[in-house]
């Protein structure tokens, strides 16, 4: 048969188990607002029974472990979506800055083109008038300035995006270092057979942060974790982190290297992916279109100039300085070649009052002088492209934000701390603890009663 001492031990196991459970609850309550924290649940199991033939007695309860409740599949989906979110929100805000240059204003390129041709039409009414000629030069100057400042803004924007590339790479390196350390702590604890829940939470949090920066593939292995970029460059292998390097290239922008290999073009998502996409693809595409517009317009105007005569009856010379042959940098370098208004070749026959060539210049605004488009139509297609890029990036951003929010919801419904649950658990554990304590008191009474029994004397 069982003994009072055995019962005392059983009651004690109850006290200990409830205390442990209350500790888990307390920790949950304390971490209710900790980002990335997964709630912990005590795992209670009945202790091995004692068999005293023919009877079997239970020996109480054991707090086997305290487990963090999480869904690894959900976590990996969150990481994926965080990458997309990082990419598109960065891209959206970069392109929104770009489109400021193409928003209708009194000094945007479209207005400057209209004003330039308007000034030529006005000159056509009185081609020998010097103030009208000066008006054309001024409008041409404004047109050049408008191209210059837009082109410079785009270059400036690429430089500042380049700065954030370098910053993002530094952040990536810090996080991978941190994750490698956490990998070490986790495997040490797991080797000791202990729960590493808190460190796993921290590592998950760090991987989430890393995912916001760069595209990451997570390859879980036994007791450890390997992280690579999607194209396979290693970031963390077990307890070792691999740093990414940045190096300035010929155009003064930074390329990203992993283990000596240039992986710049292979980084496609996360904040870094979005920044690179804006810096290396979207903004350069706009620059190229601006250059085509500037050089197409300048070349066409110069050609017509050459076919006419200025106020002195001399064949016309360039109105704009010729664009670079390659076309690259045409918008940034567009400038007016003449300062003397009498040099505008308005005349088609050398006489001062002829407006024939001014009319030819004016006609350029409805001729396909830029890649088969009129100048204004070409500009409007740039505006469309820029607007469309922003709209697309922003739509992707909203969509991924929504998905990410839903995934976080799900994670929270699996791993989040519910104060209602914790309160209820606390009541349960408290009651059970009180009951076990009462059992101890009862056994104590019984012990006392036993001790106080009169001694049998023979």
């Amino acid at each position: 048969m069982s003994s009072l001492n055995a019962s005392l031990a059983t009651a004690l196991s109850g006290l200990e188990a409830e205390q442990g459970s209350i500790a888990a609850t307390t920790n949950n309550v304390a971490n209710v607002n900790t980002p990335g924290y997964s709630r912990e649940e005590p795992v209670l199991v009945t202790s091995d029974p004692v068999v005293l033939t023919p009877l079997t007695f239970g020996t109480g309860v054991t707090l086997q472990s305290v487990e963090s409740i999480r869904d690894p599949l959900l976590e990996s989906q969150i990481q994926q979506q965080t990458q997309a979110q990082g990419q598109f929100s960065t891209l959206t805000s970069a392109l929104q800055q770009t489109q400021v240059n193409f928003t209708a204003s009194t000094s945007d390129i479209g207005t400057a083109i209209s004003n330039f041709f308007d000034s030529i039409n006005q000159l056509s009414t009185n081609p020998s008038d010097l103030s009208l000629r000066q008006g054309v030069l001024t409008a041409a100057g404004n047109l050049a300035t408008s191209f210059n400042s837009t082109a410079n803004n785009l270059t400036q924007q690429r430089s500042s995006l380049d700065l954030s590339v370098v910053q993002a790479v530094n952040q990536v390196n810090q996080l991978t270092q941190q994750i490698a350390q956490l990998n070490g702590q986790i495997s040490n604890l797991q080797n000791l057979g202990e729960s590493a829940g808190t460190f796993v939470d921290q590592r998950t949090q760090a991987i989430d942060q890393l995912s916001a920066l760069v595209d990451v593939s997570v390859i879980p292995s036994d007791k450890s974790l390997t992280l690579t970029t999607t194209n396979g460059s290693p970031l963390v292998v077990g307890q070792q982190s691999f740093q990414l390097q940045t190096q300035s290239n010929l155009s003064g922008l930074h390329d990203i290297y992993s283990q000596g290999a240039d992986i710049t073009s292979q980084i496609t998502s996360g904040q870094l992916g979005g920044t690179l996409q804006a810096r290396d693809q979207q903004i350069p595409a706009v620059q190229t279109q601006l250059d085509s517009l500037a050089s197409g317009l300048a070349t066409a105007v110069n050609t017509v100039q050459a076919g006419g005569f200025d106020l002195n009856g001399v064949a016309g010379t360039n109105l704009f300085n010729p664009s670079p042959v390659s076309g690259v940098g045409a918008a940034a370098s567009l400038s007016v070649a003449i300062t003397d208004p009498s040099l505008i070749a308005a005349s088609s026959d050398g006489s001062v009052g002829s407006n024939g060539n001014a009319e030819q210049l004016y006609a350029l605004n409805s001729q396909p002088v830029v890649s088969g488009h009129t100048p204004t139509n070409y500009y409007s297609s740039i505006v469309f492209n820029v607007g469309n890029d922003v709209a697309n990036a922003s739509a992707e951003q909203s969509a991924s934000a929504l998905v990410l929010q839903q995934l976080n919801d799900q994670r929270s419904s699996v791993s989040g701390v519910s104060l209602d649950e914790e309160a209820a658990d606390l009541v349960r554990y408290q009651d059970a603890y009180a009951a076990s304590a009462q059992v101890v008191i009862a056994i104590n009474d019984m012990m006392n009663a036993t001790i106080a029994m009169p001694t049998l004397t023979g």
């Binding site: 039409n121 005349s347 006489s351 009319e359 607007g387 699996v414 104060l419």
Partner: protein, 295 residues
């Protein structure tokens, strides 16, 4: 399934979205436009660029019309004066052809006709805002200069250039006729006919022939004057057309990018109501949990 114990991020995201909507609505109300940056509606933004260009062109055409209207009007009224002067010369010629006049009377007529001759010279050398109107495109030089050795007494030093100017998308207008065509063409030369009259009066021969010459010169100018009258009419109707085009462009701009204020204001009030309701809910429910009831 376990309920998400922390719905606040969701609610806050919804609040942020509502606030964003309120900002957008407010901007649309302030600017009256639904397209404030290209990404609001890229296709509409592209249309707006073209619309702005066309509007700018139409405004410029109006200014250009204003600039040349004066010159054309001046040319027209000058030609009218030329015709009046020629009528006077004809009257004088008819008077001179009357056989009862003596040499002294005719000499007096010659003086009068010479007055008309110099008047015509100055009319043909009309200058408007620094440009000689009847000089072709050689507008900086007076087209007719006195030349006693010439049968007409003058020489035309202008050219035959004619300017056309674009004043609409598919509308160009010729704005001048050179003096060589108006006053001194091979068939009818105004100055020669006047010179002939003077010579006729001086010699008392061929006066009637000269009068006939002047008559045909006058009717030739009268028929050419239609060019300027016509140009003025075309300018007027183009002005009317351009202002209706400007109105249409403004309407197009409004259709493409105007904010539907009724809808925006109604959206705004819906958003504000929903924002208030959400914030109230957060305030009332977020801090309630079982711990609040444990004693």
């Amino acid at each position: 399934m376990r309920v998400n114990p922390n719905p606040l991020p969701d609610i806050l995201a919804a609040v942020a979205q509502t606030r964003q909507q309120i900002n957008t609505d407010n901007q649309q109300i302030a600017t009256g436009l639904s397209v404030n940056v290209p990404s609001d509606n890229p296709a509409a933004a592209a249309v707006l660029v073209q619309n702005a260009d066309q509007t700018s062109q139409a405004d410029q055409f109006q200014r250009s019309i204003g600039s040349i209207q004066g010159e054309v009007q001046n040319a027209d009224s000058t030609l009218s004066s030329v015709i009046t002067s020629l009528q006077q010369a004809i009257s004088l010629g008819v008077e001179g052809a009357n056989g009862t006049l003596n040499a002294a009377d005719r000499a007096a007529l010659v003086t009068e006709v010479e007055g008309i001759q110099s008047q015509l010279l100055s009319l043909a050398n009309l200058s408007y805002q620094g440009n000689y109107v009847f000089a072709g495109t050689a507008t900086q030089t007076a087209p007719y200069v006195l030349n006693p050795s010439s049968p007409s007494g003058v020489t035309y030093v202008g050219n035959t250039g004619v300017n056309s100017i674009t004043l609409g998308n598919h509308f160009t207008l010729k704005t001048n006729l050179p003096g060589s065509q108006l006053f001194s063409s091979a068939s009818t030369d105004l100055f020669k006919s006047i010179q002939d009259l003077i010579t006729g009066l001086q010699t008392n021969t061929g006066i009637s022939t000269a009068v006939t010459e002047i008559g045909s010169a006058s009717s030739a100018i009268d028929s050419q004057r239609a060019f300027y009258g016509n140009a003025l009419n075309q300018l007027n109707s183009q002005q009317t057309y351009l202002s209706s085009e400007t109105t249409e462009l403004a309407q197009q701009q409004n259709t493409v990018a105007g904010a539907d204020l009724t809808a925006v204001i109604s959206n705004l009030s819906t958003s504000e109501t929903s924002l208030q309701a959400t914030l109230t809910t957060i305030g009332q429910t977020a801090h309630v949990n079982l711990f609040s009831y444990l004693k």
